[in-house]
């Protein structure tokens, strides 16, 4: 009897608990706290935080072959189902009107990918200086794409190129997205003058329904022909938008925006959190990834701003450079930050709709950058 009880005690999780598990619990609880108390990306940080907690409960085997979370991860992320479905929902939620009304803002979305390439090179330099860390080109692409501040694209690229880094890159991307209102304003103030922040932009022209309907088809055609690996994300983004703009499939549009988006978000959060087991996450690489992600984010913000300033040298109707920083995807937070700083400089300055153009362009730009990474780094 005593032997049986002894065996049963050894089969409980208590006997296999290690300090590393407790550290991961704290990280999981921190995410849950940030989601509930600070409202930082709660839709994702809450399921991620809880998944981090449960995946680090010893002997539960949730992420081992056939385990529940492993099944979510395998079919959701490894099969590349979840990120494109998220893009379907995003497309159904997106109004391309501001982008179509002022198409040159697409270039700001391109410039805001600068940080992606800075972090790409930074990762390679670290990999060269510290070979034991194991960073090569696929890892550099996955870390660099954090600078696009686009969670699903970061996940999609990482699963394709460096799946062992998924937990760290996904959490870094979503953390920095939620920290946009804190990270961006100092850079924006540093790189613009008071006079530039006060620039009023001309009101956007109204965009016809026919333009809004043709745009997703045209964009899919152009982007998928130039960068075929971007097709899964871009095609789903645009079909979601076509649902919205066509006006004839309101049920599908609503389902993509609400039910489907909510369901997929649950599985995305759980699957990402499930990758953060102590063995995979408590490594030097994770810290380096967070640092490089921040560098990427800063340079992306600067890239958009500086191109807007450069464009102003040639444009008759000046652009407020503050909208350039919105090119870092993070929709719509980055656009709101542009609006806030513009209004601080001049309360009569309304930049929100102008900033939505580069903001949406940033999403497209990040997907294109990811497509080029995948095609050139051998992932697709």
């Amino acid at each position: 009897m005593a032997e049986f009880i002894g065996t049963m005690i050894w089969k409980t999780g208590f006997m296999s608990l290690e300090v590393k598990h407790l550290i991961m619990w704290l990280i999981g609880f921190l995410f849950i706290f940030l989601a509930i108390k600070k409202n930082y990306e709660p839709l994702l940080l809450l399921p991620i935080g809880f998944a981090v907690f449960i995946v680090n409960l010893p002997l539960t085997a949730l992420m081992e072959e056939g385990g529940l979370l492993q099944i979510f991860y395998h079919y959701g992320l490894e099969w590349e189902i979840i990120p494109p479905l998220i893009f379907l929902g995003l497309g159904a939620m997106t109004d391309f009107g501001p982008l179509i009304a002022n198409p040159k803002t697409l270039l700001l979305g391109a410039a805001a990918q600068f940080g992606v390439y800075v972090a790409f090179f930074g990762t390679l330099v670290i990999g060269f200086l510290f070979p034991t860390i194991g960073f090569g080109i696929p890892e550099a692409c996955s870390i660099g794409i954090i600078g696009g501040a686009d969670g699903p694209t970061t996940i999609y690229t990482t699963v394709k190129l460096a799946p062992q880094l998924l937990g760290a890159t996904a959490v870094a991307a979503y953390s920095y997205m939620s920290l946009v209102p804190i990270i961006q304003p100092p850079i924006m103030k540093l790189l613009t003058t008071e006079h530039e922040r006060k620039i009023h932009m001309r009101q956007l022209r109204p965009v016809s329904q026919i333009e809004k309907i043709i745009f997703p088809v045209t964009a899919t055609l152009i982007i998928c022909l130039i960068v075929p690996p971007a097709a899964p994300l871009m095609a789903m983004f645009m079909i979601g938008n076509l649902f919205r703009e066509s006006g004839v499939v309101k049920r599908l549009s609503n389902a993509a925006q609400n039910e489907l988006m909510n369901i997929v978000t649950i599985f995305l959060g759980i699957s990402v959190g499930a990758t953060m087991s102590a063995d995979k996450f408590l490594r030097l690489e994770a810290l380096v990834i967070f640092a490089l992600g921040l560098v990427a984010f800063i340079f992306s913000t600067a890239g958009g701003l500086l191109l807007a300033k450069l464009m102003n040298l040639f444009l008759k109707d000046k652009i407020n450079p503050l909208i350039g920083s919105a090119g870092v995807s993070a929709v719509p937070m980055a656009a709101r930050v542009s609006q806030k700083l513009g209004a601080q400089a001049d309360p009569q300055n309304f930049l929100l709709m102008h900033a939505m153009g580069p903001n949406i362009a940033g999403v497209i730009g990040t997907v294109v950058a990811a497509g080029f990474f995948i095609s050139m780094a051998g992932g697709g």
């Binding site: 198409p103 600068f114 790409f120 390679l124 130039i226 050139m376 780094a377």
Partner: protein, 39 residues
Amino acid sequence: MPWEQAVRIFIFGLSGVFITLGVLVIAIIILGKVAKIFQ
């Protein structure tokens, strides 16, 4: 470290993003003109 491949990814990747979105800018401008004609 395959620096040559890295430089290629940097140059073609960054310029590729600008070219792709630049083509999209031109397409939107043409789209606007065509839509105007039909209206």
